[in-house]
């Protein structure tokens, strides 16, 4: 059971940062609250008392999203359900809807924010590989002599381990900045025990862009979660495919190699096997999901239609 002495709902960022910097140690920031409440139960943290909870969901400045320099800046209030209801986000962040549909359920998605998911820094957070594939950065704000100061950290560096991030004590995460991947095909893979409300055993996100003939990989992005304490981007696999002719055999080969690199970090044979299939499925699904291009595989007559 979670208890606190005070629950704050600041309406502006300045107010929130001031409040947050003045809270006593052990206080917590709250976004969707969908993880902190189950956390304070038997089997996890047990009964927990925190001095203060500062809720960031009524801070007007954290609302909405904007397109800036080929990037998409998502305010920290963006929740998982937005990736299933907002056509613009679905089109420009093509791996996010596939990630979101696997995330918890409709009810939790209306509350759970992408930013909260990243700051929680669970090694099996569904959002992490999808954001890492989109070259995501997290924007952190703090007050310096009464003025708001912001910095951005790539998410792949921001998450340092389970529950460990580079956020400073007085900072609040205000936005996630992602590549605009319009025109890419996106995909998300997850192993869990059922469809809804399941924490990943392992997960992977893929983004693919081909030439207009669907013959050559122009760009490939692959990231996996749940196989180590930190997010993993499969840069070698990406490099091996970029510019290459699209073929099932090549994809399968790259998937095998990717698993070998990951294998050294993860001791579990099962997860290693999963990674092989994930990488292959992530690429093939992303190819199939790419809009307006028909893929021509070198080694088969088979065609995948978007």
């Amino acid at each position: 059971m979670l208890t606190c002495d005070a629950y704050h709902m600041p309406g502006s960022l300045t107010e929130a940062l001031k409040l947050w910097s003045e809270t006593s140690d052990g206080s917590r920031l709250v976004s969707g609250a969908t993880d902190i409440l189950p956390w304070a139960r038997e089997g996890r943290a047990g009964d927990v008392h925190v001095p203060e909870l500062v809720d960031v969901t009524r801070i007007a400045e954290l609302d909405g999203y904007a397109f800036e320099n080929g990037r998409v800046r998502l305010g920290a209030r963006t929740v998982y359900q937005d990736f299933l209801t907002d056509r613009i986000l679905m089109q420009n962040l093509p791996c996010m809807p596939h990630c979101a549909i696997w995330f918890a359920d409709d009810q939790i998605r209306t509350q759970a924010s992408l930013t909260g998911n990243l700051v929680n820094a669970s090694p099996v957070a569904d959002g992490t590989p999808a954001v890492v594939a989109l070259n995501g950065e997290i924007e952190l704000a703090r007050l310096d002599s009464g003025k708001i100061v912001r910095r951005s950290v790539p998410v792949i560096d921001f998450i340092e381990g389970p529950g460990q991030t580079r956020i400073a004590r007085d900072e609040i995460a205000t936005a996630i900045i992602l590549d605009n991947a319009s025109g890419y095909g996106g995909s998300f893979q997850k192993v869990g025990q059922r469809r809804s409300l399941v924490i990943s055993i392992a997960c992977a996100a893929g983004l693919v862009k081909t030439d207009h003939n669907g013959r050559v990989f122009d760009d490939v992005r692959l990231a996996i979660g749940g196989v180590g304490p930190r997010p993993i981007r499969l840069t070698e696999a990406e490099q091996a495919l970029k510019g290459a002719r699209i073929s099932h055999e090549r994809i399968a080969h790259v998937a095998q190699t990717a698993a070998d690199t990951v294998g050294s970090r993860s001791r579990q044979e099962y997860r290693r096997e999963v990674v092989v299939n994930f990488v292959r499925a992530a690429i093939e699904d992303a190819l199939a999901n790419q809009p307006n291009v028909t893929i021509s595989f070198e080694d088969t007559e088979e065609e995948a239609h978007a």
Partner: protein, 628 residues
């Protein structure tokens, strides 16, 4: 502690209440507004019994701090129809019989309402996805999905409202869609389960549970807990006035640990306080000194000579051995052309009824101790409790509250005794609501079984003898083990006439969570082994699996394993119906080709798909995932 003033519009009415800053929206609705149609099934966002609308969006109110709903418009199950007619969704749930225990139903109705509000044209895959956050344990969801599709058609005007009305029943109720009398109370959230009931001046109880599996209790010091403000009483086994001990067959379980603990989660002491939080804090002030004892975690170890003894009355750790003998197995095996021998194992299973255990006890003005709980066996509980609290039977009363799912898991009197003691000690009503975690750790489970099977057959498929040896993990207490072993033995070799058999079922004590009653009561474990053996026998003899069952099935006049002569038998019709329904293609199970028409047919559950609402997403199975 500073309070928080909560303003909201709930079901169309403006409300203002003083709440705790840490209250969840669920607490605000249930405790402050008495809107108990919203249930707490898990408190962790897993089950969906607490789903409500906040500003038009469906949320799980156990995952939402109440403060987040400050100033919002909230709609609960009670507000869907208000005092007027039920909504089409509620009426459809009534019509299809979608409510059984009813505990998931308010949340399920809310999720169905949300799905159809979000997308009135949602297809069945999308409906399933949108209801994915709500769990039901009774129905298997079929009737729930039927109801949502029916409501969808009525709302869209594709079906007349009359489809929601009661079907006419002809000459027979058999085969007719008969209305469930209790459905309106369930689909509207009006039915009060034990945790929904409140009594004036009621205390809340919490239970201290053992972190160790097997240990002597050297001392229990409750003084600090008892000295706390707002704590009204603390009880331990010392407070039991009569003969302590309950169980469905053998009364081997004290209502709180007596001298030693035998499994993790066993009750040691209980606190009744003015509120749950104080009671929980008081638990942490109770000091228990233990001396760890060697434990038993494997039923085979429990039978070894010199194994630790868990109950003094049972030095061999045996709860019950049920032997069944018929004919002469040696002779039967000698007559066999083929002898198959194999081992089977099943696992522990939790019932996971949506309603966690809950109850209220009070002492009425005539000194009658009254216990209200969703017990599946109140008469037996009443007799046992009278012994335990040393009262005549007419001074003990049990009231069965609506059972939000039991499946056998609520047959054991694991908390009613503690409630009664607290009520007797305080002369105030006392309530205990289990958390989901507590329900998982403290309630009985399905017996894990190990079965060694030997079956002799002739070449034409006739069983000549069976030797069936089952060892079950009974866990720390006897509970229903004896009955489960009895039924497992009686039904062991299935509905087949076996002239020579030797059946032994045994349950033994271990320091695992106690095993108890669970749907089929031991038959499932036995049938898993028997039916697997039948299929393997068919394979070994090159026979059709239906054929080998027909050869051996009990017919009228057959003698059962326990030598009862059958006057009726229906397995022939059951097999025929199963064969037709499954579109079974005759043949040996292992030699039929990949292109089987009886696989992936219209009644086969397709693999889970996701993304019914993502435009352009592919829902079909990927080529490399197809079974070759």
């Amino acid at each position: 502690m500073p309070k928080l003033t909560m303003d909201a519009e709930v079901n169309g009415r403006k409300v203002r209440r003083e709440i705790q800053p840490y209250s969840r929206l669920l607490d605000f609705l249930r405790d402050n507004l008495n809107l108990t149609g919203t249930k707490e099934g898990c408190g962790a966002g897993e089950c969906g019994t607490c789903s409500v609308f906040v500003n038009g969006k469906l949320v799980k109110s156990c995952l939402m701090p109440a403060a987040k709903a400050q100033g919002t418009r909230i709609e609960t199950i009670e507000g869907l129809a208000g005092l007027g007619d039920l909504t089409p969704v509620q009426r459809a749930f009534h019509k299809t019989g979608a409510s059984q225990c009813g505990y998931c139903i308010p949340g399920m109705v809310m999720a169905a309402t949300a799905a159809l509000r979000e997308n009135p044209g949602a297809d069945i895959e999308e409906i399933k996805e949108r209801l994915g956050g709500n769990i039901c344990r009774c129905t298997g969801y079929t009737k729930i999905f039927e109801a949502v599709e029916m409501a969808k058609a009525v709302i869209a005007g594709d079906a007349p409202e009359t489809v929601l009305e009661e079907d006419k029943v002809g000459d027979s109720y058999i085969g007719a869609n008969v209305r469930r009398l209790d459905a309106p109370s369930k689909v509207s959230g009006r039915l009060k389960y034990a945790a929904d009931m409140k009594m004036h001046d009621m205390l809340q109880m919490q239970v201290l549970r053992s972190p160790l599996a097997h240990a002597k209790i050297l001392s229990i010091d409750t003084s600090e807990a008892e000295a706390m403000e707002d704590v009204v009483c603390v009880i331990t086994e010392e407070d039991v006035p009569g003969n302590d001990g309950f169980g469905v067959f053998v009364h081997d379980q004290p209502i709180m640990a007596r001298g030693k603990v035998r499994h993790v989660g066993e009750a040691i002491a209980a606190v009744a306080a003015e509120n749950v939080l104080t009671a929980r804090k008081a638990l942490s002030k109770i000091k228990v000194e233990y001396e760890a004892l060697p434990g038993l975690y494997d039923p085979a170890d429990a039978m070894k000579p010199g194994a630790p003894v868990i109950h003094d009355y049972a030095p061999d750790n045996l709860v019950k051995h049920i032997p069944v003998r018929k004919g002469n197995v040696e002779k039967g095996f000698a007559e066999a052309d083929l002898i198959l021998e194999d081992d089977f194992r099943t696992q522990q299973v939790e019932h996971a009824y949506l309603e966690p255990e809950a109850g209220i006890a009070y002492v009425d003005p005539d000194d009658v101790v009254v216990v209200i709980s969703p017990s599946q066996n109140i008469t037996h509980h009443r007799h046992m409790l009278a012994e335990i609290i040393a009262k005549p039977i007419n001074k003990v009363r049990f009231i069965m509250s609506p059972v939000g799912g039991g499946f056998g898991g609520k047959e054991d009197m694991i908390y009613q005794g503690m409630l009664a003691l607290c009520a007797m000690k305080t002369h105030r009503p006392v309530q205990l609501n289990f958390t989901r975690e507590e329900s998982l750790i403290a309630s009985a489970k399905r017996h894990p079984a190990r079965i060694h099977y030997k079956m002799g057959l002739t070449l034409n498929g006739r069983i000549t003898a069976i030797s069936f040896d089952m060892l079950s993990d009974g866990g720390a207490y006897g509970m229903s083990s004896e009955g489960v072993m009895r039924k497992a033995a009686i039904l062991s070799c299935g509905p087949y006439e076996v002239k020579n058999l030797k059946v032994d079922t045994r349950a033994v004590y271990t320091n695992n969570t106690p095993s108890g009653a669970f749907r089929t009561f031991g038959a499932m474990q036995a049938q898993f082994a028997t039916e697997s053996m039948m299929d393997m026998a068919a394979e070994a003899l090159g026979m059709d699996p239906f054929e080998i069952r027909r050869i051996n099935m009990m017919k009228i006049g057959a003698k059962t394993h326990t030598q009862q002569t059958l006057e009726t038998a229906s397995l022939d019709r059951v097999l025929e119906a199963a064969e037709t329904a499954s579109r079974w293609e005759k043949g040996v199970p292992n030699v039929r080709g990949a292109e089987r028409d009886d696989l992936n047919g219209p009644d086969t559950r397709q693999p889970c798909t996701l993304g019914a609402r993502i435009k352009g997403s592919r829902n079909e199975t990927h080529p490399y995932e197809k079974v070759a």
